[in-house]
Every structure is written in structure tokens, then in C-alpha cells.
């Protein structure tokens, strides 16, 4: 923000508070600001070096209904510094509806990008669908993990959720235990502590069940292990034969000032150490005990939070024990936390570069320059260039967002419910927040604050009905209209009935088409040596294990270098950048809005498929 020297009105939206880990790059904040609202502190900091401008901070979520099309219409340009796809899509739609140019951006480590989206002139943010967040097949997580991340997902989304989360949630942890030999009674009681068990006994019993018994059960299926290394069942009596001695600190102490930590109790000081199997076992048992004793009120409601030290310790230990079982290398708490928490690495320099580029593009927008560039920051120079500017493309004619192209959906109208359609298609795939679904003139479903009770009942009932049995039946040939009024985004979906779906490739039993999808990338993209592509490890992933929505194909996030699949653009000669430093004096009464979300900025990298080359360049 320090670059913006216009005499204009700024509004900034950020729902986040300042964290210590922000301080290595978010230089408007100081140690003393930790815990305070980012929007407010940033505003104060800027006013200190630019006292006479108008900045209004909003400590709020950009998806709030207050930030509607009229709100966005106030601005000459919108600058995004968001950290998730959902919010970006939402703002994209609002900017299209309000006809305000949008400057998008993101960073991850040494990579970054800035893109400009002007309605009618360039592609909108969604013209190139962004790759879906990485998911793993259910069986890989529950039965055949081969990488450490699979163990983390198991520990976080299955074991942690089962022990400390909502007990009523469906959980695949014991999916193998659906054997005839274990009665359902048995299954339910395994995770309940009996009255005569102390915490260590309980912990060991859980340990033996998930790391011992469940593995033995999995081994009984010979077919699975024909071409795979067999896992080893682990039993706590073998790994940790002696009872854990009472460590310092009575777990029942209620006046303990510092939050419970298994590492602290056990004297493990360095999060970068890789614990051995025995240490992991100790941490597992100790963390479990601490959760049930010093945090018992939260049990049943907990979800994993990367800033929850005890949760991170538990997940690290559990993942490591599982990894040991499956011959996968163990990791330190530091590494495990990064994977489990989807932590994006970040440094001050990349953000500084991207910020500078944002300003340059913003100035072009305000001057109606038209010579916009999408600029990509590479990690290593490619053809001697570290920044790769690219001319924007014309809007994608089959973009369902800015070109209002209709889509089609293959679905079994006798089997799939409206709820599936709403959750997986309308909200997840289409990114609508508060959708409204119509079949002809009939309203099948809507979300809103001021709905009448009988309408809500009606919609709730509709959700549970299969499509063909809705009050206004939805069958093959029906056209559904789906809208989000806040985003001013309408989409027409033509329904095609289909009986059968591939269980592995199409587990949702719904196939949406008509919107150019990013083709899936090969898993091992390390073959692309010498053309500047970065590794997939540097790319962010969102929650990795979607309970029922896992897709078999691992769709990896696109690579950082769009140069990989298309040639470098030639710089158009007719385009001159404003060289003057006095830009600030000439910009009056222009309004800029800056949007921020979490501390960790993610880069949403466009996937450059073969068809990119054929598209029209916009001038």
C-alpha cells in the first residue's frame, strides 16, 4: 500500500487479525499489533506517511452481503490480495456486474503473478477455470498410503476428526472394519473410553486399534498387497513397553497458564527434529491424554487448526506412526504442520515485487491506458527474464461467468438429490454463495435472510428429494436457471439424464460440461527440465481430503510457468508505459479498493492448456 500515492478514497476489506508469522513480510504491522484487525492497523500505518488521504477499513468478510454490486460501483478499480479461490471468484463476479476493472494477484514463495481483468476487453478471472484443489482417492488415504501427505490427511481428517470432532459425522476411519467378524456394537464402542481405563490405557487401546488391528485387517486382503509393500502392524506394547511416567505438570491443573503441549510435557524442544517411532508414540499418547483432560469441553467440536499446537502435535505423531507402518519417511513437526495446515511459504521480496506490479497495472487502468499486462514472477530467469509480461486474452466465449454460456449436466435424475446438486455443482463448482434455483417459473431452492418459514420448510424438503420428484420435476431436457443475486451471476444448466456413472472416475455421479475445464496435469511434472517450470511442491493446495468428493485422478495444480506451453509474447511497440514519477499529482478523485483476506497469499496459477495458443489476443 505504500506505493499508492493518489489523492483518492480507499476502502479495504480484510477479515483477518494480525499473526506473528505475518511479520516477516507484512511490514505495516508490528509485534505489538498481533491480534488486532489487519484492516484497521494497515489504515493507521498508511495514514502516518500519507496523512491526508481517505482510507476506510472494513474488518469483514468480502463475501458479506453488504459488499454488493452497488458497493463495488463506487470504485474505478479493485485490487485483490485474497488467499482463496472462492473469494476471488466472488469478487470477479461482482466486478463484472459493477463493470469495474479488477487487478488480481497472488504469491507463493518466490513465485507470483498480477493479472488485469476488464469486462468486455480481457478475460475475466474465471475465463480460464482454475484447477480443482488437490484431492486423494479414499482408498489411498484409508488403505494404501504411499506418501507422507496421505498419512497427514488420514491423521487429520479421519483420526483427529473421529476422536475429537463431531461424532455424528460420517467417518471412513473404520471402513475396513465393516467386516462380518466385528459386530457393529464393537465398532461403535472402540473409540469410547470405558470407566475403568485410565488415559494411558485408553490411548494405547486406540493406538493398537488403528495402528495394529486395522492394519492386520487390511493385510488379510491379499489382492491389495500383491504389488505393494505390506504395512507393518504396530502395537504400543512393542514400541513403548513401559508405562509413561508422570511427567512434570499435572494434567488436571486448571490454573495452568500456558496451553497444553505434549512436546512441552515430554521435553521435546525442537520442532525441526524428526522424532523416532517411540517419541512419536509418546507424543501420541500424551497429546491424546491432554486433549481429554485439559480440553475436555472442546471434545466433540474440535476441528484441526494449524495454530493449535496440541492438534499439530497429535496429527504429526499419528501421521508418523502410520508412515512408519507403511515404510514412508517420517517428518518433523515443522514439516508436518506445513502440510497439514496448507501453509504457504512467503517472503517479503516477492510480495514487494508483486505490489509494485499491481500499482503499475492499476495506474494503467486509471489512465485508461489499455496496454495491460499479465505479469508472472518466475523463480529463475527464463530467457534472461525474471518477470514475464504477457498480453491479456480476449474474453473466453464459452466462459459461463462473463459470457453467460449455458452448461449441461449429466446426472441420474432418479437417484441424485437436489442437495447433491446444490452442494457439489452450484456451490462448489460454480462458486455461488447464496444460490437461487429455478425450474421454469418454479423456485426450487433459495438462500436468503428474510425468507418465510413455510418457504424454508419447502426448500429443506426439496433438498432431500431426487430431481425427478421435485414439485417441478427435473428430468432429461429440463433447463435449470441458477443465480446468485449478490454476484449477479446467472447460469443456465441443461439437464441430461444418465443412468450409470464410473464409480472411480465419477464418484459424484454428476458431470458438468460446457465450460472449458483445465486438463489434468501429469503427476510427475519433474520431467520438464530446462524450461523454467517449478515443482508442484511450491504450489498451494486447499483442504486435501474431501470426505465424499474425492476424485480418483490426481489433478495437480498447474505449473508456475505459463511459458511452458506457449511461446513468449512479443512486446507490442505501440505501447508506452508512463515514465513519469508525478503520477500522484495527476490522479485526483480516483477511487481504489484493496481487498485482503488471510495472511497467507496464495498464487492461483492459470493452467495454460493447448487451446490457449489459439485464443485471440486483446489489444
Amino acid at each position: 500500500m505504500q506505493h499508492y500515492t493518489f489523492d483518492c478514497i480507499y476502502l479495504q476489506i480484510d477479515m483477518d487479525t494480525i499473526e506473528v508469522s505475518n511479520l516477516n513480510r507484512q511490514f505495516l504491522f508490528r509485534q505489538s499489533h498481533v491480534g488486532q484487525s489487519k484492516a484497521k492497523v494497515a489504515r493507521d500505518a498508511v495514514l502516518r506517511f500519507r496523512p491526508h488521504i481517505s482510507i476506510t477499513p472494513y474488518h469483514a468478510n468480502v463475501k458479506d452481503s453488504d459488499f454488493n454490486v452497488n458497493f463495488f460501483k463506487q470504485f474505478n478499480v479493485v485490487l485483490n490480495g485474497l488467499d482463496n479461490l472462492d473469494a476471488r471468484r466472488h469478487v470477479n463476479r461482482l466486478c463484472l456486474a459493477a463493470e469495474v476493472p479488477l487487478v488480481e494477484s497472488g504469491t507463493t514463495g518466490f513465485l507470483g503473478q498480477v493479472t488485469v481483468h476488464v469486462k468486455g476487453k480481457t478475460e475475466c478471472y474465471e475465463c480460464q477455470p482454475k484447477p480443482a484443489p488437490k484431492t486423494y482417492p479414499v482408498c489411498t488415504i484409508t488403505s494404501t498410503p504411499s506418501k507422507f501427505v496421505h498419512c497427514i490427511v488420514w491423521a487429520k481428517d479421519l483420526l483427529f476428526a473421529k476422536l475429537f470432532g463431531d461424532k455424528n459425522q460420517e467417518n471412513d476411519l473404520n471402513v475396513r472394519s465393516n467386516d462380518s467378524c466385528s459386530s457393529s456394537e464393537n465398532k461403535n464402542n472402540v473409540f469410547e473410553r470405558s470407566d475403568d481405563e485410565d488415559w494411558e490405557q485408553y490411548g494405547r487401546r486406540i493406538y493398537d486399534h488403528v495402528f495394529g488391528y486395522n492394519i492386520e485387517l487390511a493385510l488379510s486382503d491379499e489382492e491389495t498387497w500383491k504389488n505393494r509393500t505390506k504395512p507393518r502392524p504396530m502395537y504400543s506394547r512393542d514400541v513403548l513397553p513401559d508405562k509413561m511416567t508422570q511427567q512434570n505438570g499435572n494434567a488436571d491443573k486448571t490454573d495452568d497458564l500456558s496451553p497444553a503441549s505434549a512436546m512441552a510435557s515430554l521435553g521435546l524442544k525442537n520442532p525441526q527434529d524428526i522424532w523416532c517411532l517411540m517419541e512419536n508414540t509418546r507424543v501420541f499418547l500424551e497429546a491424546l491424554k491432554l486433549f481429554f483432560t485439559s480440553r475436555k469441553k472442546e471434545i466433540g467440536n474440535l476441528s484441526f487448526d494449524k495454530d493449535d499446537q496440541l492438534a499439530v502435535e497429535f496429527v504429526t505423531a499419528a501421521a508418523n506412526i502410520r508412515a512408519a507402518s507403511f515404510n514412508i519417511p517420517l517428518h518433523s513437526l515443522f514439516e508436518a504442520k506445513g502440510i497439514a495446515g496448507n501453509i504457504v511459504h512467503a517472503v517479503a521480496t516477492t510480495n514487494a515485487i508483486v505490489a509494485g506490479l499491481i500499482v503499475i497495472e492499476a495506474i494503467k487502468v486509471l489512465k485508461k491506458d489499455g496496454c495491460y499486462r499479465m505479469t508472472y514472477c518466475l523463480e529463475h530467469p527464463s530467457k534472461k527474464m525474471l518477470l514475464m509480461p504477457v498480453e491479456p486474452f480476449e474474453p473466453n466465449k464459452s466462459c459461463c461467468v462473463c459470457s453467460q454460456t449455458p452448461l449441461s449436466l449429466e446426472i441420474n435424475t432418479h437417484r441424485s438429490k437436489l442437495r447433491d446438486f446444490v452442494e457439489k455443482i452450484v456451490k462448489a463448482k460454480l462458486g455461488m454463495n447464496s444460490p437461487l434455483i429455478m425450474c421454469g417459473l418454479a423456485l426450487l431452492y433459495e438462500v436468503g435472510d428474510d425468507l418465510e418459514k413455510d418457504m424454508i420448510e419447502n426448500y429443506t424438503a426439496n433438498l432431500e428429494k431426487v430431481l425427478s420428484e421435485l414439485p417441478s420435476p427435473v428430468t432429461g431436457g429440463t433447463m435449470l436457471t441458477v443465480e446468485d443475486l449478490q454476484q449477479e451471476f446467472t447460469c443456465n444448466i441443461y439437464i441430461k439424464h444418465r443412468e450409470e456413472f464410473d464409480e472411480e472416475k465419477e464418484p459424484d455421479e454428476m458431470v458438468l460440461s460446457g465450460w472449458t475445464q483445465a486438463p489434468p496435469e501429469k503427476k510427475d511434472d519433474k520431467t520438464s527440465i530446462g524450461n523454467g517450470a517449478s515443482t508442484s511442491k511450491s504450489l498451494p493446495t486447499e483442504p486435501m481430503y474431501a470426505q465424499k468428493d474425492t476424485e480418483v485422478k490426481e489433478i495437480s495444480d498447474g505449473t508456475a510457468s505459463p511459458g511452458k506451453k506457449r511461446k513468449l509474447p512479443e512486446f507490442s511497440e505501440g505501447c508506452t508505459l508512463d515514465q513519469s514519477n508525478d503520477a500522484d499529482e495527476t490522479m485526483n478523485h480516483k477511487k481504489i479498493q484493496k481487498l485482503d483476506d488471510d495472511d497467507d497469499d496464495l498464487v492461483m496459477l492459470d493452467h495454460w492448456g493447448k487451446d490457449t495458443c489459439k485464443k485471440q489476443r486483446s489489444q
Binding site: Q2, T5, V20, S21, L23, N24, R25, F27, R30, Q31, R48, F49, R50, P51, G109, F110, K269, N270, P271, Q272, F334, G338, I343, V344, H345, A346, V347, A348, T349, A352, I360, E379, K526, T527, I529, S534, T535, L577, D578, Q579, S580, N581, D584, D600
Partner: protein
């Protein structure tokens, strides 16, 4: 320090403990703290650099307020080095920040040995004459030197360092050596047991791609007096050779072999220059 500071968590995930330690040991000297120099130092300070020494002889003028957010109205008339230093210190109190109110050109001329104490000297907005002098000084003192100049929306950065070793290069791509062009005895024997031209189509498409490569590489080196494909044309030829071995379109093993052929091209062993080097 055993426990990494939470503040540096996000960057530790880029350069690790050793990288952070190197940063924290470094002492930086900045010449001229205009916008370019200040911005440079800001990023280093945020990252936890060991110490900074700001050298600038000028005073803050009203014109500076519009392009350097490290100085504010209250600084006008004061030493720019002092003001920038104060601001930078606020950004990270773990960094030792010092300033000297003196013009860099004067220092270069009068006290060249001053620079030997630093790990890196960042020299901004110097004229060529001064840059040349400073470069000589730093080379002799074995101090890393970075020049930067900016002019409006353009500028340059120039690094002047002696040859040095990079030990933890953290490569993005790890090129595994399958010893395809120099197989060890067991691999060689294994490859010998397989006939690439087996008539059974099922067996043909199940030949492991590694074996295909080992055999084709052998054929190639025999025909090229021991050399591996090195030019673009040769590599292409090699791939064509692989393709020629396919009998059906759906032979994934051959496709894999073609895709992995780059593993054959990279030369192995220690670079001959390195072997010759006596330094």
C-alpha cells in the same frame, strides 16, 4: 537457536534453518538510503538479517516525503540515514541497526578499509566512477557487492562477486541417475535376459522402459564411439530410435521410455573442468 522464531516460519519453509542462520549472521552496508536502498534494506530487515549500517550524507527534504515511506514530515531537515535507520529498527528489533551520516563517495575515497567488516555492501545510486573504485575495494576485501540504480520505472541491479561454492542448492528438479548408460552388473545381466524384439505382443509391451533405454543406449554408444546423444538432433534421433521399436500404438512402456529419455542425455560424473581445477 533451537526453536525457530514463529515470525520467520513462512520463510524458513523456503530456505530452511541454514539459510536463516546465514541471513542472521550477515552484516549489510547500504550506501545511500533513497527509495531504492531503503526498500532493499526493508526486505532484509524483515527477514532477520544480522545487522545493517546505513551510509548517507543527505538530509531529508520535502521531496523525499512522496517517494520514501520510511521518512515522514517530522524527519525533514534531519539526517536521512538516521530516519531510515530508526524506521527499519522498528520493523525488527532483532536486527542491529546503525547509521553514519556521510556521503558514500567520501567514504570510498578516504576509508576503503571500512568496507571489509561487512558480508555484503549494497551500493545504490552511485556514479560509475565510484562504482569502479568500490568494486576494487570489495574484491580485495572479499566482500560481496551489489549495485542498484533506479530511474523512474526502469533501473538495474548488478552483482559483483567472486566465484564461490553453493552447497545446499535445493534443486527444484532432482535428476535421478538410473545408470542407464553405465549399468551395474546386475542391471546389465537383467537387461541381457530380455529380448526387445520378442514376438509375443503382450511380452513386448511389458518390457520395462528402463530395460528399453539401457539396450537402446548401448546400441547408440556402440554406433557413436561411446558418446551419448548430445545435440538436439541427436536427441531427436535417439527418440526416433525408441519409437521405431514400437509395434503397437498402445505400448505405454515405449512411451515412458521416450519421455524418460532425458535421463540418458545428461552426462554423468564430475565435470571435467572441476577435475582440472587446482584452486
Amino acid at each position: 537457536m533451537a526453536e525457530p522464531k514463529a515470525k520467520y516460519d513462512r520463510q524458513l519453509r523456503i530456505w530452511g534453518e541454514h539459510g536463516q542462520a546465514a541471513l542472521e549472521k550477515a552484516t549489510i552496508c547500504l550506501l545511500n538510503c533513497g527509495p531504492t536502498g531503503s526498500e532493499t534494506l526493508k526486505n532484509l530487515v524483515l527477514g532477520g538479517v544480522g545487522s545493517i549500517t546505513v551510509i548517507d550524507g543527505s538530509k531529508v527534504e520535502p521531496g523525499d516525503l512522496g517517494n520514501n515511506f520510511m521518512v515522514d514530515e517530522s524527519c525533514v531537515g534531519q539526517s536521512k540515514a538516521k530516519c531510515v535507520c530508526t524506521f527499519l529498527q522498528e520493523l525488527n528489533d532483532a536486527v542491529k541497526a546503525k547509521f553514519i551520516e556521510e556521503y558514500p563517495e567520501a567514504l570510498i575515497g578516504s576509508n576503503p578499509s571500512f568496507f571489509s567488516q561487512f558480508t555484503i555492501v549494497v551500493a545504490t545510486q552511485l556514479v560509475e566512477d565510484s562504482m569502479i573504485k568500490l568494486d576494487k575495494i570489495c574484491r580485495e576485501a572479499n566482500v560481496l557487492l551489489i549495485f542498484a540504480r533506479s530511474y523512474g520505472l526502469t533501473g538495474f541491479v548488478r552483482i559483483s562477486v567472486k566465484e564461490h561454492a553453493v552447497i545446499e542448492s535445493k534443486p527444484d528438479h532432482f535428476l535421478d541417475d538410473l545408470r542407464l548408460n553405465n549399468p551395474w552388473p546386475e542391471l546389465k545381466r537383467f537387461a541381457e535376459t530380455i529380448d526387445l524384439n520378442v514376438t509375443d505382443p503382450v511380452a513386448h509391451k511389458h518390457t520395462p522402459y528402463v530395460v528399453i533405454l539401457v539396450k537402446i543406449v548401448e546400441e547408440w554408444t556402440k554406433a557413436h564411439s561411446g558418446a551419448l546423444p548430445s545435440t538436439w538432433d541427436e536427441k531427436k534421433e535417439f527418440k526416433e530410435l525408441l519409437k521405431a521399436g514400437m509395434v503397437a500404438m498402445d505400448e505405454d512402456n515405449y512411451k515412458e521410455a521416450i519421455e524418460a529419455s532425458f535421463k540418458v542425455f545428461a552426462s554423468r560424473g564430475i565435470n571435467s573442468d572441476l577435475l582440472r581445477d587446482n584452486a
